[in-house]
């Protein structure tokens, strides 16, 4: 990557707290270069979804960002007025959600739901939006776009709904897509098709993706870089190939050993060692103490 080019997304030392003072994000720093897929991997409670939400500006009201900057193509989101920030986020980012069923309004047809965003937020004409959506449905290999556009969400299968949402996400040519566990709810064979599709569209459109997942298998297949999270802290960050060749942090190693592999059943599915968790706990405690000192 060109060191002079601005990263598509640059998160610098982001910390967020709950009202009870608990830190849910612990000085998270990461950058997503243009056109690159960055995986955020971790178990539940690791804060991976939280980071995606922070980028899209949809954090729950109880979570407060107390420190750090987020730069979207060089523009500091924290320095913008609320309205300008919404417009910028709306124009340059998109989301592929985990659950394609709840992400779609059950009482509206697919067609208008897909064009809505293009017309309302980007101010496109109806015809232009319509043509664009059809083009994207073709790209996600939906054979009968006419029928699908007239369907209600429940009339489509899970895989089809996710294709529709992928098409909608890429339609506005965003610079960055946050994909939040987009294949977790799907069967493995469908998951493979969807991952292929995301990778293909990502390559063709040159879109950067922040890919949130709990599955190291998916990380290995889709991403170029990866951040491993534990309790809201980035414990390891590396090129994906390097991470799988030689994981550095004990937690990363433990996670890899715990992930099932049918090719090697007895070397995988190893329970995480207590010592690793104890090490993580003291690492977090030390980081919190160091962080509190200047912050009172």
């Amino acid at each position: 990557m060109n060191a002079l080019a601005k990263p598509c997304l640059d998160i610098r030392s982001l910390s967020a707290v709950l009202p009870n003072g608990l830190r849910v994000l612990r000085s998270v720093s990461l950058a997503v270069e243009p056109g690159e897929v960055r995986a955020l991997v971790g178990e539940s409670g690791a804060g991976k979804t939280m980071i995606g939400k922070a980028v899209l500006g949809v954090l729950p009201s109880s979570v407060r960002i107390v420190e750090g900057d987020m730069l979207l193509e060089g523009e500091d989101l924290g320095k913008l007025q609320a309205k300008a920030r919404r417009t910028l986020i709306g124009a340059r980012t998109a989301l592929i959600p985990q659950d394609p069923l709840t992400a779609l309004n059950p009482s509206r047809r697919i067609g208008p739901q897909m064009t809505d965003r293009l017309v309302r937020i980007l101010g496109w004409s109806g015809e232009k939006a319509d043509a664009r959506i059809r083009q994207l449905l073709d790209e996600v290999q939906i054979r009968e776009p006419e029928r699908v556009l007239k369907c209600y969400p429940h009339e489509l299968s899970g895989g089809m709904r996710q294709r529709v949402l992928i098409a909608a996400a890429f339609a506005a040519e965003p610079r960055l897509i946050v994909a939040d566990e987009p294949t977790t709810a799907l069967d493995v064979t469908v998951q493979k098709q969807i991952l292929r599709l995301i990778a293909q569209l990502q390559r063709e459109h040159g879109t950067a993706i922040l890919f949130v997942t709990h599955d190291l298998g998916v990380v290995a297949k889709i991403s170029q870089k990866v951040s491993v999270l534990y309790a809201g802290k980035v414990v390891e960050e590396a090129e994906t190939a390097a991470l799988f060749a030689a994981p550095q942090h004990p937690y990363t190693r433990a996670l890899m050993a715990a992930t099932p592999r049918y090719t090697d059943p007895f070397a995988s599915l190893k329970p995480v060692d207590e010592a690793v968790l104890a090490g993580l706990a003291s690492e977090i405690a030390a980081a919190d103490q160091a962080w509190r000192r200047p912050h009172g």
């Binding site: 709950l18 009202p19 009870n20 109880s62």
Partner: protein, 282 residues
């Protein structure tokens, strides 16, 4: 997390305020002969339409003033509370027993049982409740037990509908199948697994229903269809107060305030109890 704490804090205050008022009213009702300053039925035309204690012309011992027959308003309210509470407890309990049982059966067994019970509920709810109550009392004759029966007969459907829906939701949980795996029979599962999970809703509804019973009783008294006109009831006092609103506003206002506070307290108390004792919400 914080929202939960705030709402728990709010629910505690609500529970104490509502419970406090109900306790005062209940104690007053139980010990009415001891706490009432005057005989609620004693008329004295020399003392008619005395204002409450802070206004000019008030008499000591008649704290909230008197009505147009010179009867002490506070004493009448206290004795009225007796009838209000008897009706509230008896009618709400009866409605609760009938409605919850049928709702539990309909929701848990489904099929024909559900279809029959739900149809009856639909038909029942098509009657306008107050007219239905007036009709029932007219047929049964006035009196305390008629009022209680009328309220129970009308309002069991409220329990039935809510408990049925709640039971259906609970019945779909895996722990119900789990109990079958453990070897429990249908009735056993309904009582052991499902019932405890709908009890908080029953308690909340029961409390709400007590408030409603108080209102219905007041309405029936208002149209002179409750118990004998001699006994003071809140509805009866309100009806009398309405006639002399321009000469003695207090005869209308105090019973109204008492009524509203009591009804509100019942519903808030139920919600507060539910929030406090439901381990799932906690």
């Amino acid at each position: 997390m914080d929202e939960a704490r705030i709402s728990r804090h709010g629910s505690r205050a609500r529970l104490w305020l509502a419970g406090g008022w109900l306790l005062i009213a209940l104690l007053a009702a139980i010990f009415a002969p001891l706490v009432a300053p005057q005989d609620p039925l004693a008329q004295d035309l020399m003392l008619e339409r005395l204002p409450p204690f802070w206004l000019d012309g008030a008499e000591p011992g008649y704290w909230l003033g008197t009505d147009s027959l010179g009867r002490d308003l506070l004493s009448r309210l206290i004795f009225g509370a007796r009838i209000a509470f008897i009706v509230a407890f008896a009618a709400a309990l009866a409605a609760c027993l009938v409605g919850s049982t049928l709702g539990l059966i309909a929701g848990y067994f489904g099929g024909w049982a559900d279809r029959i019970i739900s149809r009856i509920v639909d038909v029942w709810m098509a009657f306008p409740p107050v007219l239905f109550a007036i009709l029932l009392v007219a047929v049964l004759g006035t009196g305390l037990s008629s009022v209680i029966i009328a309220i129970a007969v009308i309002d069991w459907t409220r329990f039935c509908r809510v408990i049925r829906a709640e039971t259906m939701g609970q019945s779909r949980m895996d722990y119900v199948e789990n109990a079958r795996i453990a070897g429990y029979g249908r009735i056993g599962i309904m009582l052991r697994e499902v019932l405890p999970n709908v009890v908080p809703s029953i308690v909340a509804l029961l409390s709400l229903e007590m408030g409603i019973a108080v209102i219905v009783e007041a309405i029936l008294s208002f149209v002179n269809l409750s118990i004998s006109t001699d006994d003071p009831t809140w509805g009866g006092i309100i009806a009398e107060g309405r006639l002399s609103i321009h000469q003695a506003w207090w005869v209308l206002v105090f019973p109204l305030v008492t009524l509203i506070l009591t009804v509100l307290s019942f519903s808030q108390f139920g919600e507060g109890l539910r929030a406090r004792f439901d381990p799932v919400l906690r």
